[in-house]
């Protein structure tokens, strides 16, 4: 599945939240740029989580820019999912993908 994507975002910059931007790019794959207040401890884990969430939604050719302010895992996941959903322009998600 390769949908046409638009630029979209979700979340806020506030403490315990994450601000996620989805930007379509002209190359294959998923590029992640993370800036996190807990980078030293959880940076790699958060990157893996973002990638996993994006892969599960079968997107390709996107850059995900994430400003994390110490959000819990499910918050980050929800923000990534919402941003991608908005980028695809779909109103109803495929719920089975979001588990």
């Amino acid at each position: 599945m390769s949908k046409k994507l638009e630029t979209a975002h979700a979340g806020t910059l506030e403490s315990s939240d994450a601000f996620v931007r989805v930007i379509p790019i002209n190359e294959k794959g998923i590029v992640i740029e993370l800036e996190s207040s807990v980078e030293e401890i959880y940076g790699d884990a958060i990157r893996a989580l973002i990638l996993e969430s994006a892969n599960a939604m079968k997107v390709d050719g996107v850059k995900l820019i994430v400003q994390d302010k110490g959000a819990l895992d499910y918050v980050i996941k929800a923000r990534v999912q919402t941003a991608i959903l908005r980028a695809t322009g779909e109103s109803e998600p495929d719920w089975s993908m979001l588990s």
């Binding site: 975002h9 806020t12 506030e14 403490s15 601000f19 800036e35 820019i65 400003q67 302010k69």
Partner: protein
């Protein structure tokens, strides 16, 4: 503490006046060109605000009394939401150097500074892409010239300047100001330049960008009427040129026309001489001021052509511009008459 956020559109004069009062209380001047303000209120009192003007975030301020409560990040969230909704995704902002970290945590990256007083940041990484693209056009030589032009519209005066530059250089890079803030659109200006300089062989014509005399890097350039010259913005624009753009193309010289009429441009030329050659880690760029050609005892300039257009004096325009420019002007003026 909870804050209430709201948007103030350009049309709401009364509420904008309140924003103005608030900005004055924190020693900031309200930018007239802000389209939408986002304000945070506490007990019906404005305690923070930020504005969107084109792709630039401006007038971001927070009252002393509420600093340190994380309001900056809430405000920026709201402001970014508004900007993205308006379709402005690649944003710029100016701020003082000591606030760099605050905006870094909002996803903005440092581009350049001026006089340790103001820094320019952006939330995309487009400047790197732009630099990479420029590198493809690099030519080596003792004299690699550069010119930045608006050409509103392209005249024989511009042509003379470019000819002179090409004669004195191995290669010349001409940048066309991209901002659509002029009487002639960018598309028309760019086309007339390309057509009017077709025969010159050692010349590359570049579309301008946000990084060279644009509303992002040089906001005051486009409000010439006010005779407002902010030397900080001039410096910022020139620092970006010298430290970011020129090295990609190996530029050694910058050519400018002597400016007898326009104060903003003249000031820019003078500051350019100083800033592009002062000691720095980047190689100096020599500024060469070239005289203008005259017709009928007066220099040929774009402003002269525009004035003649207003006075409907087509016959006087003919000797000042190349045939391609003349053709467009004739077309534009015949449309005017129909109206």
């Amino acid at each position: 503490m909870s804050f209430v956020f709201s948007e103030i559109p350009h049309t709401s004069t009364v509420r904008r006046q309140k924003v103005n009062d608030f900005l004055q209380s924190v020693d900031l001047e309200m930018s007239e060109d802000v389209e939408i303000f986002v304000v945070a209120k506490e007990d019906d009192r404005i305690v923070a605000c930020g504005g969107l003007s084109g792709k630039v975030l401006k007038n971001i301020a927070i009252d002393e009394s509420v600093r340190g409560e994380g309001l900056a990040l809430s405000l920026m969230s709201e402001l970014l939401k508004v900007a993205f909704r308006e379709g402005r995704h690649d944003l710029f902002l100016f701020t003082k150097p000591n606030y760099e970290e605050v905006f870094e945590s909002c996803g903005f990256k440092y581009i350049e500074q001026a006089n340790h007083q103001v820094i320019l940041m952006e939330n995309s990484y487009n400047i790197d892409l732009y630099k990479k693209r420029l590198r493809k056009y690099k030519h080596s030589g003792d004299v690699v010239g550069s010119i930045v032009m608006n050409c509103n519209p392209f005249t024989l005066g511009h042509r003379y300047l470019v000819e002179q530059a090409c004669e004195r250089s191995v290669w010349v890079h001409l940048f066309v100001v991209k901002e659509d803030a002029s009487f002639f659109t960018f598309k028309d200006r760019y086309r007339l330049i390309c057509e009017g300089l077709e025969d010159l062989e050692n010349l590359t014509i570049h579309e301008g960008s946000d990084y060279i005399i644009s509303k992002a890097t040089f906001p005051t350039y486009f409000i010439k009427d006010k005779r407002q010259i902010d030397s900080l913005y001039t410096e910022l624009d020139l620092n970006i040129f010298r430290n970011h753009l020129a090295p990609q193309l190996g530029i050694t010289h910058r050519f400018v026309g002597v400016e007898p009429f326009c104060a903003v441009t003249n000031e820019y030329n003078q500051q350019m001489k100083k800033l592009l050659t002062r000691p720095s880690e980047f190689p100096p760029i020599e500024v060469v001021e070239l005289g203008r050609i005259e017709y009928g005892g007066e220099p040929i300039s774009a402003s002269r052509v525009r004035k003649l257009m207003q006075q409907n004096r087509l016959e006087d325009i003919l000797p000042l511009v190349p045939p391609t420019t003349y053709a467009l002007i004739v077309k534009m003026m015949s449309k005017e008459e129909v109206k």
